[in-house]
Symmetry: D2
Subunit: 370 residues, 4 copies
């Protein structure tokens, strides 16, 4: 029963609009900036496995490394981390939104502006991205990637404001839709979340240094402390001062809108040990199962979770209903997460190879016909 | 001098006694032999992730492909499968028993004998492997790998018997210790299990063709039917006849010994959906938890499994004790299985990156001091 | 700060003045456009071995492939050529002008403009490249590569003209310095050479289709016919018409300047079988040797060429002086061309491994002390 | 004219019997043994480009590295050289004699014998290799490669002699055909050349340490001194003594046979700066041209060498005949040596891409009809 439900959800969420999932991580003023960013991205790997990139600034110049594949396949290599010196860093794990997975689309994207370099890492989807792109091209700009993030860079580059922070806010104001975004300059780490708060973004702290990341699990992996969620419509600008201290300036430059945190963050995207919007994802999932048991009780022999997304809900259903919870489906851990692979054919093959029935728990059990 | 060398080898071979884990799969007379072997090895991936090899025979010649890494990284490639034509196939997934992980040690191993070619895939550890190796070298043979499996090949090559099956049995009789082994020739698929049955080996059937593999989960993935376990001390010889039919000959050429199926197959090695020794591994693990709850009751708030090996036992403990079962530890799926990696340093790093506490389920809970 | 950054860029760009060498090839209207471009680039390999790229247009979309390394290492692969369908193609072999050899710097560069896509391949060095770059950035543009070629793209994108050809000419007019450049759009192949003609660029023809390339040796490899040199300051626009015919329009939009064909094309860059500026490179080199023998006669036992650049001059010296020509230095062909590698340390090591004395020809010979 | 001749030679030498070409290098007692071996193999690269291997012994254990491809692509990497510690080393560059180019066939081959380890590198072709292989297999041995060199290892392993040197000589005596071979043990470097001396093998010295290699050019690259050729049928055994000194023992254990040094060493295989059989290869090639001019004078405008093999002969012809020597054919250096690639199709393609006519030297010249 839970099985059927889960399959339906999977089918539903295969559509295009959900492909906005990505993971971002940034830290300011820490000597191990790149390594901490790599660890944070590893914890956020479930938000995108196609590629990962990290940018650092070492006081003199920016450094960029981008790689196709998993964080752990590349950013555990000391030779790669050695190419990322500096105390400011942002990183990005990417789930490709198009068939074209080229390194030039891998974030963070970087641009040398008149006021200095800026790098941006972005999780979201602008509803007016294409319109903005067309306007920018019409006035003689060159777009070299197909990502919305490049549009943001252009908006910043064209802004008439002098400070990078003001230019960033100027760009934010022109964008419609959902985003959680990090930017870094030679002295600043900037975090922004759209007015509806559709994608999560949290603020943490390690050794007194500010961190922003998509989910709290990226704070946990490095032992950082959770401070608060970035609020809807908020832009937080952290800047290293001449004396090494960090000044934090939080603003709300865009008009408030009704909250619209994406449901699928709780259902599927976020890691169960993360706290999203102040609520444990695990508890939220479990409560869905508890509520389902109240709303739709069935007579059944066992409650079987579809690993791993459906497990907390199945446990909730079992606890509420009193029906035994049993592992009737076993997952092969040597296949990547089904949902997140780019083509339908690989997805189908993945599903076949990934789950197998645990006969001992299923044979002889009733089929409940819903 | 040679003595020192032998001691060095001894050190390399006598590692952790748990390092005997490997997966084997063989099929006779099926047009998709290599693809089915690849799928079977994928299901057995948990038994060894260092390397995998497949040998086929196409009526004219033997074909071998060996690759470092996961089955799914290589043997899903149609170009590689196209290099493995034929209707007889055996395969092997390997967990390196030594620091040296060279392709020449990857199984199956193949030898061209006077009576024709033979390939062998082996899961186990001979207690007299080093003694046999020394004897063989003393009489002028050359050992090019460091694996016990090569010793078997030498014993077969030196046998005075004329048929390959008799030579194989001749070799088996000289070996002491544990093994589950597959061999293939131009017409035969041979399965052998040591008299104590320390490693699992089952017989199945697909489209009327015999299959042997380490665990039943490799039958399930291809929709094959489980026939029976290969018995302790049994050698089963399957041979294609001139009319295409398959003749099966089961023998017990070695003296019976007390059964000694490795406990760790139930505790750790085997997949929970496999049936080992006639018992569901999942049920066996769950029963361990139930028995533990009876023998060692504690007052506690939650039962938290250490994923994934400990999950069924934790569930059994929870069901028996009535203490709620909750996921207090979350696993990062983008790290390989901790236990099975070759060096201590990687193992330690892996553990750190792999598990994280699910605060929502742990905070405020009692610590029970046992 | 930006000033410092600019200075850094300046240092990177203003390396050895000989680093301007690259090879370009373009063809319009031919069904084998990509393969012919690959062969042409192979013949031009001596002009740059760091990377090579090819762009094609297939009537619907542009296709780009870029690879680090030799043309023959990648573009002989049918799978790569299959990704480059279409009848219009330009390609580029690159000799890195900076330490950073990133794929994003590999040409041709492509941009999607309001009037459609355009790709550019460029051999040369603008004297006002940095100034133009600063101006462009100051008005809000984003530069993602460090190559001058991107500046050209920006100038084209910003032009107020409507046709691509007029925009291209508009851009050319703003550039100072030397260049031989190819551009392609959905229907056009455009060739341009700077007013001083510092880099070679020739026009050829195969099966009635126009070809432009750096040297005639790229025409010879595909059996194409040499038509003429692109003249100094000339822009030649070839366009496919609706009926499939090709219209060719040659213009001279920039002010004439004194010819200044780079001496090193004859001395070192060009292949000896190429005809540059109407003169055989081989004959030019030989004549240098003949003239040297006239101007600076010496008494010597043998004339020994330093392979391979110095061979024709040595032969000319020998023929003129009557002193025997002998191979006293032997080249190891398994090392790349010394001069053209990017770092001094590799260069030094390369020289050591590349040439060896041919004792039989050198022992006992006089040293002439000049 | 010379062109046609060379083409004929190329066709002739494409047969199987000439595929015996390989390069060997060995050194005893030198702290930089592996690096010197790598440099020596680089100088011998023309004798085989398919793969290269090096074995060293560091006083405790043997180390082996094997790589497909050029010496310079791998053995210039400090990380690879660091895996080859020790003061004894032999190496091999390989020109595949079969379609199967597998790492297990790459030499040197190594075996752990009762008397200790031995590694062998071999250039040659046994006429009784297949017969010996069959005999060895018939008595219960296992052959894992398809190379003749493995047969030698088996013969050594089976010998009843106690010392490795005696076992090696025992093996040599059973082999028929041509070979130049190096072997190394924990204390010895052994060189052997067949009684007809079909393949070259020379002895040199660096810092008082003995070196053996295929051609003198491998001595020149490291500044080593040429001592003498290994004589036909000679076995030279060099052994490090307890006091660090090296004892050299030269024997002639096999019956003398008429000398039969392969003609193609002078015509094609050897490097022109090598001295083979006491004669400069360059001078030998030039003399062939001088003799050809005497025997077959023609009226012609120019003598054009086919680079690079034919160049010295063409120069000899030109000097003898008084006809001008000119480069009428230009070679593209970015293609590997034509002759030596394994498949006909690649060979054909290679030729097409490799040479181009130098029109300036050929146009208007007479065709001499021979």
């Amino acid at each position: 029963m839970t099985h059927l439900r889960a399959a339906e959800i999977n089918d539903e969420i295969d559509g295009d609009t959900l492909h906005e999932e990505c993971g971002v991580f940034g830290i300011l003023g820490h000597p191990d900036a790149a390594t901490l960013t790599a660890l944070g991205l590893h914890a956020l790997q479930h938000r995108g496995q196609e590629a990962a990139g990290i940018v650092t600034f070492d006081g003199k110049q920016f450094h960029t490394e981008k790689r196709m594949g998993l964080v752990g396949d590349h950013y555990t290599d000391p030779a790669i981390l050695a190419k990322l010196p500096g105390t400011i860093s942002i990183g990005h794990t990417r789930y490709s939104t198009t068939g074209e997975v080229a390194l030039r689309n891998v974030q963070p994207l970087f641009a040398e502006l008149e006021v200095g370099g800026i790098a941006i890492a972005h999780n979201g989807n602008f509803t007016n991205g294409l319109t903005l792109r067309r306007q920018i091209i019409a006035t003689g700009a060159i777009c070299q990637s197909t990502s919305d993030t490049e549009v943001v860079l252009h908006l910043i580059a064209r802004s008439r404001h002098t400070s990078t922070a003001d230019r960033f806010i100027d760009a934010i104001r022109q964008m419609e839709g959902g985003y959680s975004m990090l930017a870094m300059t030679r002295t600043k780490l900037i975090a922004a979340r759209d007015p509806t708060g559709i994608r999560p973004l949290v603020m943490g702290e390690l050794d007194g240094k500010p961190i922003f990341c998509s989910e709290t699990c990226a704070l946990d992996i490095i032992g950082a402390k959770y401070i608060r969620d970035v609020e809807n419509g908020e832009v937080i600008i952290c800047e290293i001062q001449a004396d090494g201290s960090i000044q934090i300036d939080a603003r709300k430059p865009v008009n408030p809108q009704p909250e619209r945190l994406c449901l699928f963050e709780y259902v599927y995207f976020a890691r169960p040990d993360s706290v999203v919007g102040g609520r444990s994802v695990y508890v939220a999932r479990k409560n869905m199962g508890i509520n389902l048991a109240k709303e739709s009780p069935v007579e059944a022999d066992v409650v079987v979770p579809v690993p791993d997304g459906g497990t907390p809900a199945a446990l909730g259903y079992a606890q509420q209903s009193g029906i035994p919870f049993e592992y009737g489906i076993i997952r092969n851990h040597y296949v990547g997460r089904t949902f997140i692979e780019p083509t339908q054919s690989i997805r189908a093959f993945g599903v076949k190879l990934k789950h197998s029935a645990n006969r001992a728990m299923i044979e002889g059990k009733r089929r409940t016909g819903r």
